[in-house]
């Protein structure tokens, strides 16, 4: 039966044949890929050709964006009834298995396409200014282009294996980019950590994939969505297992509890990388995966609750760590983790559109914040560089009063701060409000969602606080950089500020893509309508009751108040006392110290998991088996002679044939006992 099970069932689920621009969607992947090849070749052969690298590196992204825009226009003009599948070639075809290398063009993937190429283009342009002086300029752009190509494969893939190529690929690029400045061991370690933690998540995706194959005999998203509701029981063990394993992948990639620790470390890479990969695109892949498989998650309410719970918890937890960080990028890193938590709260609640909406607005304002911080670090770095100082260019305690020197950066980052804090009518306000309202509305079906909503609200307060604290410490008050350095502080060049302006505009008005009904002006619920075909099936399975009328207004009032309170507190408390520079600052004490040390999570993981593993391998395998058994059992001190000759690597492999034979025989005795039973 196993084999006949593999016989291809007819593909079910509607799909549309590609026409017009959609047929050429693969160009969006091909352009960055070509960029990677060209820049890679330049990196190897002529790394000094920086102008060519800049033109190619950003040009391919703009071209990809043009493709995305064209496809978007086509879809807008003629909304297809079902996803358009652009099949490029038969990838894994064998009896009973037909996996096409195919792209799926529908409303959701186009949104992602636009975000990745659009925000990606801006960040590429910014990088031209930011990385210009770096020796590895061409290599940097090669990796960045490759990353975008993989990211687009991820969002465009029409089935899980193709998505997985992108999923693994972005992980690999992330690893390469985090450890871009590999000379510093900490950076290389951060890259390794990111890769390994991500692989734990990837494991989940792989297992989910095989469970799906086993149960549904297809890995095409369209087919899965069509077939699963009829074949698997709602909230049954299998569907819960599948969705939980998928979510494990999301937890790894999107840095949720308990696998979030890699993301703050990932800030070791260049700042534009943090903006592109660790804020705007790759880390949101988990949210995308849930939205893409919304039908599966809607069929597993238990998993959805776990998703929402983990999301809410992460939002709160990460925000609280952000309260006491001094490194400007670390604050933003924890902020990203926290905002991703919001997105998972949304998709776990069943508000898939709200999740995607927040994903989009977050891409705008978080990219802006990261790039803005990049400008600040750029300025600080130059200042310290000019005076040969070795102070930390990223420590906010060394900043202060930068508003004077960098007015554009200040203004634009302020917009982003207000947006992330949820001040009406900026983009973040609408998306965050929609998530919180959905969570509150779901409280009617299960009380626990009220708790999630409360956690989201508390996280909102903290968000407003730490963001304002960041702004106050960086831009307000007196400057603490140092007298000599001060004169070297200046605004970044236009090639860097330009993208910031665009992002500022988007952060400002980004909410327009999905205005709520109560908003006095503009078209309402555009994104809701746009994504309706994608999430309709899931919404029917798991409807979201949005609050209306007085409740709605009360919720909005509460949220805005909380944002305002947070902002004011952040501003006043931060500037209430003079801030010592990083050099002179006393150690934090009490709970502040716990927060600064990020709840000691890294240390706890280290103590609970890493060190026992190392200790196990060292003590048991080496000390116990080798030194104890081998020496103790008395190979006449041969181990000593061996050590003198220089031991390499594993200590169990003693080189003693007698020991090998004993191991062999123990295995043989065990094996014979097993078969003789």
């Amino acid at each position: 039966m196993t084999f006949s099970l593999l016989a291809a069932l007819p593909q079910v689920g509607e799909m549309t044949v590609a026409t017009g621009a959609a047929r050429w969607v693969w160009l969006a992947v091909a352009f960055p890929l070509v960029g990677f090849l060209v820049n890679g070749a330049l990196a190897l052969k002529r790394p000094e050709a920086k102008t060519a690298v800049s033109v190619v590196g950003t040009g391919v992204l703009l071209a990809a964006f043009a493709v995305a825009a064209t496809v978007f226009v086509q879809l807008r003009g003629h909304p297809p009834d079902a996803p358009i599948i652009v099949s490029l070639w038969s990838w894994i075809v064998s009896t009973g298995m037909d996996i096409q290398f195919a792209f799926q063009v529908d409303q959701l993937s186009v949104v992602m396409l636009l975000v990745v190429t659009g925000v990606g283009s801006l960040i590429h342009i910014f990088s031209v200014g930011y990385m210009r002086a770096d020796a590895g300029y061409a290599r940097y752009f090669a990796y960045l282009n490759l990353f975008v190509a993989f990211m687009l494969v991820l969002v465009l893939g029409s089935n899980l294996p193709v998505l997985f190529i992108g999923w693994e690929g972005v992980g690999l690029c992330s690893y390469l980019l985090i450890s871009f400045w590999y000379g510093d061991k900490a950076n290389a370690d951060a890259g390794k950590k990111a890769f390994l933690v991500n692989r734990i998540g990837d494991l989940g995706v792989l297992i989910a994939m095989f469970l799906l194959w086993w149960q549904v005999r297809s890995l095409e998203f369209v087919t899965i969505a069509a077939r699963v509701p009829g074949t698997l029981p709602v909230d049954g063990g299998i569907i819960i297992a599948i969705t939980l394993f998928l979510f494990l992948g999301c937890v790894g990639k999107s840095a949720q509890i308990p696998l979030y620790t890699w993301l703050p470390d990932a800030m070791a890479g260049p700042t534009p990388v943090s903006a592109l990969i660790h804020a705007a695109t790759m880390v949101t892949a988990g949210v995308y995966l849930v939205a893409r498989n919304s039908v599966l998650f809607a069929m597993a309410p238990t998993t959805s609750m776990v998703v929402a719970g983990i999301g809410a918890l992460t939002a709160l937890f990460a925000a609280s760590i952000g309260l006491r960080q001094y490194d400007i990028k670390k604050v933003l890193a924890y902020s990203t983790v926290s905002q991703l938590g919001y997105m998972f709260l949304a998709v776990g609640t069943g508000a898939y559109v709200a999740g995607v909406f927040h994903l989009v607005t977050h891409a705008f304002f978080k990219a802006l914040l990261f790039l803005g911080s990049g400008s600040v670090i750029h300025a600080m770095h130059h200042a310290y560089h000019a005076t040969h100082s070795h102070e930390d260019a990223q420590d906010m305690r060394n900043m202060g009063g930068l508003r004077k020197y960098m007015p554009w950066t200040f203004g634009l980052m302020l917009i982003a701060t207000l947006a992330i804090a949820g001040v009406a009518p900026l983009s973040g306000f609408f998306s965050k409000d929609e998530i919180l309202a959905a969570a509150f509305g779901r409280g009617e079906t299960h009380k626990i969602w009220l708790l999630f909503w409360g956690m989201g609200l508390a996280a909102a307060l903290m968000t407003a606080y730490y963001m304002m604290r960041l702004m106050a410490m960086t831009f307000l008050g007196d400057n603490r950089t140092g007298a000599k350095e001060r004169e070297h502080l200046h605004e970044a060049p236009w090639i860097m500020t330009g993208p910031l302006v665009v992002l500022g505009l988007l952060s400002l008005i980004g909410g327009v893509i999905n205005l709520p009904a109560f908003f006095p002006a503009g078209p309402h619920h555009v994104l809701d309508g746009w994504l309706e075909p994608v999430v309709a099936a899931a919404s029917r399975l798991m409807p979201v009751a949005m609050p209306h009328g007085a409740t709605e207004w009360a919720l909005i009032g509460g949220a805005v108040t909380i944002a305002a309170v947070g902002l004011v507190l952040g501003w006043k408390l931060t500037l209430a006392n003079p801030i010592p520079t990083a050099h002179d600052a006393p150690e934090d004490t009490g709970f502040a110290r716990v927060l600064f040390r990020k709840y000691y999570v890294d240390e706890i993981y280290d103590a609970l998991i890493v060190r026992p593993l190392v200790a196990f391998s060292r003590v048991v395998l080496w000390k116990g088996v080798d030194q104890g058994l081998i020496d103790g059992v008395g190979a006449n001190g041969s181990a000593g002679l061996a050590r003198a000759l220089g031991w390499i690597g594993s200590r169990l492999q003693t080189g003693q044939l007698g020991f090998y034979v004993v191991v062999f025989l123990i295995g043989a005795v065990w094996l014979l006992r097993t078969v003789a039973q």
Partner: protein, 503 residues
């Protein structure tokens, strides 16, 4: 269709033509040796003769395969089915690649003894007998021909104490394991009265294996477990690979392992498919142990050669996992994974061969640091190898892992699938640093290759292997199909129902 009567001497000759031609090649090389025996050019000539003698063997194989040779009546002594032909093709590929990679290596290391190539061909013929055996006696003798030749090849670098030690260790443990294997054959024969694999299968059809047969099967598995370096019978492998000349280490990791697995598939799927409840737990346990131990210990290796040795142990674990289901898909997965593994490993050992000298024992991560700057193509090839061994999507290795997982999940052993995935995640911990070092670390002042270069044969071998890995990673369809088709020929000749099918 081309029925061949294996009962007649002429039929057997026809069926064994590829093996016979390889043996003839070995003897031809010996004759060339008798006159030309002294210089590097002589050695090269012997290599060329050896390589050329593979061509008629391959042609004979192609003729048999394309003609659809099949036994008239019952299979006898030697199998005649698609699975054997595919096995022979794999072994011929591994042998040809090893010969090509040996040209430059032997000259550089001053190993001027043209007998090398003749022993290589003897070993190849042994592998072919073994993998295509329809009878346990043929299997045992083929294994001995292979082993005896490889024992000598491991110690071929007579000036090196490491090479001598590798040969001694391999020989002593190998002979020890052979005794187990032989005992297993004796008991399996005693339990069934048959040495023919399909004969055993028929005798057992539907019945239970008597105790003597179970013990025999267990002992057989021990012997084969040694040959494929499965934990806990693996301890020899790192030391022996380490001490052997690098092309030979590659040959052991590819040819010997492939022959072992192909023979194992034949034994388990043709002779004892009905005793699956006896061997499946053992295979599963060996698979898990190999995957865990191989990958974990590989993490702690500094020398790339030893790292590859432990990695080959881990890959034995993956292959055992592929073997586990006992289904057509399982046999197909073994073939496809072996193909991916052989190609990748041949290329990896080939690259290793130019990275160091004097046996490559001292090649570490530092040796590849900054390789991309000076030798971008070499670094690229190394990267592809590591990614394929890791099972990264887009490489042939991924397709192989995919096939294994499909088979295992299809046979409902989720735990085994999970362990395979987890351990291959661990393997990222030692494959990726190689890529890291090649691309991201700065080279020292000296050229990492120190003037060593691939000769043309080496470049062609590695380039072809890398191209195939990439092309089949992207377009694996036809290979997957034919692998399953090939597996179908084996399962059909088994003539009895397989576990998994029918559930």
């Amino acid at each position: 269709m081309m029925p061949i009567d294996l009962q007649t001497p002429s039929g057997v000759t026809l069926a064994l033509l590829p093996e016979i031609l390889v043996c003839a090649g070995a003897m031809l090389v010996l004759m060339v040796n008798a006159w030309k025996h002294h210089t590097g050019a002589d050695s090269r000539l012997a290599g060329k003769v050896a390589l050329a003698s593979l061509i008629p063997a391959a042609a004979a194989l192609a003729w048999l395969w394309a003609g659809g040779a099949e036994p008239e009546g019952r299979p006898f002594m030697v199998a005649l089915d698609g699975f054997r032909f595919a096995s022979l093709a794999l072994i011929l590929i591994a042998t040809a690649a090893t010969i090509l990679l040996s040209f430059g290596y032997l000259e550089r290391e001053g190993l001027i003894a043209p007998e090398y190539y003749s022993l290589l061909l003897f070993a190849a013929s042994g592998m072919m007998f073994m993998a295509g055996a329809e009878d346990l006696m043929v299997l045992f003798l083929g294994l001995e021909v292979m082993s005896v030749s490889v024992y000598v090849l491991a110690g071929f670098n007579r000036g090196s104490i490491f090479s001598a030690e590798a040969a001694l260790k391999y020989f002593l443990v190998g002979a020890f394991a052979s005794a187990f294997l032989l005992y297993g054959i004796a008991l399996l024969w005693g339990a069934t009265g048959q040495t023919g694999l399909s004969g055993i299968g028929e005798r057992l059809a539907g019945g239970e294996l008597p105790l003597m047969g179970k013990l025999g099967l267990g002992l057989l598995l021990i012997g084969m477990g040694f040959k494929v370096a499965a934990v806990p019978f693996h301890m020899w492998a790192p030391d022996v690979y380490d001490g052997s000349p690098t092309p030979i280490a590659g040959f052991m990791a590819t040819g010997v392992k492939a022959a072992g697995f192909l023979a194992l598939v034949r034994i388990l799927y043709v002779a004892v498919p009905d005793a699956a409840s006896t061997w499946q737990p053992v295979v599963a346990a060996l698979a898990v142990a190999s995957m865990v131990v191989g990958n974990l210990v590989a993490l702690s290796q500094r020398s790339l050669k030893r790292m590859l040795a432990y990695s080959s142990i881990a890959h034995a674990g993956y292959l055992l996992t592929a073997l586990w289901p006992g289904t057509r898909l399982g046999a197909g997965a073994v073939v496809i994974y072996l193909a991916a593994y052989v190609l990748t490993t041949v290329a990896a050992f080939g690259i290793l061969g130019v990275l160091g000298k004097g046996g490559e024992r001292d090649v570490t991560l530092d040796s590849v640091a900054g390789l991309s700057k000076r030798h971008p193509w070499l670094a690229f090839a190394l990267t592809v190898c590591m990614l394929s061994l890791l099972g990264f999507p887009g490489t042939f290795g991924f397709v192989g892992k995919w096939a294994i997982l499909s088979g295992v999940v299809g046979a409902r052993h989720i735990l085994l699938a999970v362990i395979l995935v987890v351990t291959s995640l661990i393997s990222a911990g030692y494959y990726l640093p190689v890529i890291m070092a090649a691309y991201m670390r700065d080279a020292g002042a000296e050229d990492p290759l120190g003037g060593r270069r691939f000769d043309r044969a080496g470049v062609v071998t590695v380039a072809v292997a890398i191209t195939v890995i990439l092309v089949l990673g992207v377009l694996p369809g036809s290979v997957l199909n034919s692998a399953i088709e090939i597996a179908g020929t084996l399962v059909r000749t088994g003539g009895s129902s397989l576990v998994g099918i029918g559930r």
